[in-house]
Amino acid sequence: MYLDPEKEKMLAETANTIRQDIISMLLAAKSGHSAGPLGMADVFAAFYFDILHHRPQEPEWPERDYFILSNGHICPVQYAAMARAGYFPVEELQTLRKFGSRLQGHPHRGALPGIETTSGPLGEGLGQAIGIALGLRMDGKKNWVYCMMSDGEQDEGSTWEAVLLAGREKLSNLIAVMDRNYIQIDGFTEDVMPLDPLREKYESFGWHVQEIDGHNFGEIISAVEAAKSIYGRPKLILSHNIPGKGVDFMQFDPAWHGKPPKADEAKNALEELRTLGHQITSEHQ
């Protein structure tokens, strides 16, 4: 889909900056998850710098879109996107996972304005997003509710309880985005607990489903626009992402799901990212 080249370049550069932030944050924190945050950098850049109706200086603005992160372990990408969008000073990113920091190891609502819900324990974000969407609908409000979730948390029974309820409620104001990167801590999702065909599963629960290349800004933005135009069903965007995207030695490797880079690895990763600039593209482009 057509996207203004200037906007595309801006988003690509922002996503690259977010990736560099992720590497430096994880290096400083000495623990945390690498692959998921890097893989979702493009999606988060698209949301925080184009899609979301929000006011970084006024996180509780009543007319905002609600952005719920269910798989809280990828929070470095959210923190980096929020800081770059102006929610809090960029320097604070280096406090990730440190004592007294607002940037908790898994995001906590009470710690950082702009974090809508505490998350990390998997399979709970979608239900909370549904609750917010139901509340908005009861009050006749038009805000959109977005829920970012992982493929691994599709193993959780509570996820499917939520999928059932959203289907029955025909929640038009709910748009979920699944980070379909095919890895989880113990290995590839289809080895640990086969999930496919996810599209058909969600469709059979009454959802509208689109599949996109999660590293193509045009596809991300147009899928959200298309989802907004569908009435009478909750919407899922299955975003096919490459875990570790942008850092060659992390890509597609489940070993990088749950660990941070060491100093030399971080140096190599940052060099690669700085060299690539806005040239990180989807394999399909």
Binding site: E116, Q128, M138, G157
Partner: protein
């Protein structure tokens, strides 16, 4: 003697004292809360009649959400509703909510610190014939351990109605515990109720029975029996298990120097444990624990089970006699 300020029923020790289950008070309280506050919403996990959520569903259908048999998601959805600005009550049996969905309540309700009210019905061994699977005996313990959580176990249906309405007026997470079986309604509309404020039901100088839930009526009966033997027992309704009303409890127990805790719950982790923690810190005194002694329940008639599991009037009398020897 009975504390006149507690304004207990005129029929307190009459055979025809009215009986009603505390879950009825929940249903009445939900409707009252719904009338008072348009933001009150109720969710139920396929137990609408038996949790008494039905009355709210009929009065405010647009504010009732059937969650299906999905207690975990019910907690998450309620957390989202509360985060948005609603006051959601979630209703099921206590073994399932807050039992099965404990971690959802921990993360999305308590840690998030949003005003979800968890209504756990069918708590206690007096659930009866359904058996051990459905008799919640650990709910106070698992809720009491959560930061930000207020825990209330009402003594009768009137107190349950007041507790439910009071819970709807707070902006914090609350757990409300209800029983299945009809039990004596010994408080009245005029009885005092305030979250976190224990009620002295009976004044006494020799021993203090401190309890929560319908079993308090057995405590009152035991106190009457002992009065005939010259033992003067105080009875305290500590409906709010967390936060404890330390001031009232320490005042009463400070005078008696002996305490028996009374609850239809495991003696591990419930009100008795909370009291023991308080006394160990502030005022070490001898204590006995009436409750379920670290075992699961089983099928039977409610009264039969209460007797068999050591929560009948006779067992309370014996516990008092034991603590008087110490």
């Amino acid at each position: 003697m009975i504390n006149s300020e507690a304004k207990l029923s005129d029929k307190l020790f009459h055979d025809d004292i009215p009986q009603a289950p505390t879950r009825n008070g929940y249903g009445e309280g939900l409707v009252a809360a719904g009338k008072e506050n348009p933001n009150v919403v109720v969710l139920c996990a396929d137990l609408t009649e038996s949790t008494r959520s039905l009355a709210f569903k009929e009065a405010f259908p647009e504010r009732f959400i059937e969650a299906g048999i999905s207690e975990q998601n019910m907690a998450d959805v309620a957390a989202g509703l509360a985060k948005y600005g609603k006051i959601p009550f979630i209703s099921s049996y206590a073994t399932f909510s807050p039992g099965r969905n404990w971690e959802q309540i921990r993360t999305t309700v308590a840690y998030n610190n949003v005003p979800v009210k968890v209504g756990g019905a069918h708590a206690g061994i007096s659930v009866g014939p359904d058996g051990g699977t459905h008799q919640a005996l650990e709910d106070l313990a698992i809720m009491r351990a959560l930061p930000n959580m207020t825990v209330i176990a009402p003594a009768d249906s009137i107190e349950a109605r007041k507790a439910t309405l009071a819970a709807s007026r707070t902006n914090t997470p609350v757990y409300l515990r209800f029983a299945r079986e009809a039990t004596p309604v010994f408080t009245t509309d005029g009885s005092p109720f305030e979250i976190g404020k224990a009620v002295v039901l009976r004044e006494g100088k020799d021993v203090a029975l401190i309890g929560a839930g319908p079993l308090l009526y057995n405590a009152l009966l035991a106190a009457e029996q002992l009065a005939q033997k010259g033992i003067d027992a105080a009875v305290v309704d500590s409906h709010t298990v967390k936060p404890l009303d330390e001031e009232t409890i320490l005042r009463v127990a400070g005078a008696t120097k002996r305490v028996v805790s009374v609850e239809e719950h495991q003696v591990i982790g419930g009100l008795g444990s909370a009291l023991a923690e308080l006394f160990a810190k502030k005022m070490p005194i001898p204590m006995e624990f009436i409750g379920v002694q670290d075992r699961f329940g089983e099928s039977g008639e409610p009264q039969e089970l209460l007797e068999a599991f050591g929560m009948g009037v006779g067992s309370i009398v014996q516990a008092i006699e034991r603590v008087m020897q110490r």
